[in-house]
Symmetry: C3
């Protein structure tokens, strides 16, 4: 039930304050908004796809925005709020709790870092650091880099030049190369004519120990939930990770790979250059994805795939031959 | 007949001054160089492809660089200058009118913006602004961002950090995320051995109200004519738009999409991640283009396409099954 | 036998100091580590693929890390050091000679450039230049650009804004557009559980006269050997070049193209947008590669290819029709 450290949070609200039409006997008090598997009894959650039934069955949330059709998958302890458009209602609830998380307002608390505050950190020229940042000892920060408020960086990291880092928790011995933009809001909105409704991005980016990012990567923070790169996973230049993507440990992601939102990648996965991974997929452990592939389906453990759409390698080679 | 606000313009010239070999009875005075559909009687224009016959028939230009074959499509009011290589001759004429538009010389008029000049704008640290810029009230500009001379930005915009913005007109409530490079010259040149001849880029970038760009996008300005993003169209991270591309209203363009030069995209178009759109195409309204597709042909309204090369979705699914 | 100008170099070492297990009669003294075709008798080299037999046969290196199988291709003058994992052993040797080249430590010698030192160079605001840089006359450098120690830039260059330039030798009349990151270490490491072993990148980037890079490109330096762009070759925006890639003269590389490591591209090659070139390939002269192609094989001179995987254009068109 920890407070969100990056975004100003409102509430708690009674469920009846959020959804006027729900006149409940029991008063449900809601403190925050969380994904199915991270929610506690103080949180509201959401279910909008059969892909997440396993999480639905065991959620601890006290209530869940969902559809008439999906609500049967929720446990008795979770009160279903049935709506037509789950994401639209979720967006409105998220905006009620987090009114400032839909647009990345630049951090105007940025200052030249005081030596006294970071005695064991080495900064290049013109580095700007926001309020309440923590930076571990022996970490190096290159010139013109911006570290916005409340960011946490571990020890022995090498953060390059001309980077923007916000809404992020960085482990130890992490390497980030020049020009990366990390922790920005993702591409999430309800498309409405004349004026789209932006989805608040209240999650963060977590880079675990020994991970590495190449130059000019863009790693968006999570919308509800986090974007995560596991231990000892290395990304090459110009990789794009959308909101909520989770990459496991010991992965190798080559240049210009793109991840659409909310996919989960296992451990020991290698992905060739320019491959694309569609949204909401589950890629197993020890998977190899060939360069330029377009992955549109879940991939089980220990599979080698290639092609557009990506298929098991044998099949790809057979198809290529047949032509 | 308004002057180009971004580039130093020479002329007017008599047509005979531009093309020595044309000894005309009538003296034609030329003030500027414009695309077929934007030219007035004071302008020279060009026609090098049958794709633009509709525009050719109704052009108001007083003269047009074209080929022997295409000249019959011009109205009588438009004097044809027939040449072998339209783009080569056009390039030379453009260089005569605009000697400084072929290379992006950095703006050495950049200064820290004076509070007195922009009282209602909030600037981060180390922002640099050139001469004659206009920035609307309540607009926020992130740290280390560069706004070159004569750029116009509307009200209530959120311009992030580490951005370069030049030769651009930005509407109201526009969001530009960190690291974008906007208004730079495009990839246009006459290939010549040992030393290519760069094409002047005398157009601009226009971002209309409520549009949004993700992080690290590159939006080149127009060569002759403008690059335009319509109202309420949202682009995700790392999108590349080449010179003269025009995107309509209410479009959704996912991450790492690339547009080659001079294509026109309708309204309400959605394009999946990593798709590529070839040059000089016309994509209709309400079109959906699947992620990773390679579009090489015009697409009519309300069509869903996918694949490389992109074909209607049904056909794509049939082909994929057949394998 | 020139010293590496960008990286602190240790040695010379006796071969027996590097490989304890080799008890040689003759003492071999090694000064540096070089690719097969660039090595002199003072250097150690490596051979790990039959793709490089031509270079192996004529190498002048005094010793070579290789496999039991490949060692027969080396000349008598070159002592073979047979190992199981060539790259792992090579990595360790490279780390012994160059202990600081595996991570890009930011250059803390950066300073505002003194007018007296660069009297004929024009700098924008907040430019930072490291020790021992050379910048030719009439070169322009845009604002917020970082030029790290020992970089050499020729005359009449246009270096844009928000660029990072390190470990590079830039010719005359080179154009680099805003946001490029050049000379960073590449994506090279020995994958090890929990902590990958980074490969030192001791090479540089060489941009020859009249070459041009579009916005937000990433050009990694060589690991052993250099990354090179030839004369009058132009790259569009967001191109990614991995370590050791060599592009010839008069090439045209469109937006978002990606090159995996160590491929060699001939002269007069044109590559369409978003194409990908796999690693260790040889692309001939006068080759044309269609947009979006995935090149996985060598391509002979004067060939036009397209597709994923890329095949000669005729074949691609036939396959597309057949569907």
């Amino acid at each position: 039930m920890g407070k969100n450290i990056f975004f100003k949070q409102k509430g708690p609200y009674l469920l009846s304050e959020i959804f006027d039409s729900f006149q409940l006997k029991k008063k449900i008090k809601i403190f925050d908004i969380k994904p199915l598997n991270e929610a506690s009894k103080f949180d509201i959650t959401f279910l909008d796809s059969i892909d997440y039934l396993d999480y639905a069955k065991t959620t601890k949330a006290s209530c869940c925005i969902t559809t008439e059709k999906l609500k049967i998958h929720l446990p008795n302890s979770c009160f279903p709020i049935t709506v037509k458009n789950v994401l639209f209602e979720l967006c409105n609830v998220a905006r009620k709790f987090y009114p400032d998380a839909d647009i990345d307002i630049p951090d105007f608390s940025l200052r030249k870092p005081a030596k006294s505050k970071y005695p064991k950190v080495r900064f290049g020229n013109n580095v700007l650091v926001g309020k309440n940042c923590k930076i571990g000892k022996n970490t190096l920060i290159g010139s013109n880099t911006i570290i916005e408020h409340d960011v946490v960086i571990g020890e022995n990291c090498m953060i390059g030049s001309q980077i923007v880092l916000k809404n992020s928790i960085i482990g130890n011995e992490v390497v980030i190369q020049d020009g990366c933009k990390i922790g920005l809001k993702g591409f999430g909105f309800i498309p409405l004519k004349d004026k789209n409704l932006r989805f608040p991005h209240i999650g963060k980016v977590i880079l675990k120990d020994n991970s590495e990012l190449g130059a000019n990567c863009t790693i968006d923070r999570g919308s509800i939930g986090d974007t995560i790169i596991g231990k000892n996973s290395f990304l090459d230049n110009q990789v794009h990770m959308a909101h909520n993507v989770k990459i496991g440990n010991n992965c190798m992601i080559a240049g210009q790979v793109g991840f659409a939102g909310s996919s989960t990648i296992g451990d020991n996965v290698s992905i060739g250059g320019q491959a694309g991974i569609s949204g909401h997929l589950k890629i197993g452990n020890n998977v190899k994805i060939g360069g330029g592939s377009g992955v549109v389906k879940n991939i089980p453990d220990k599979t080698v795939v290639m092609g557009y759409p990506a298929v098991p390698l044998k099949e790809f080679l057979k198809n290529t031959k047949k032509k």
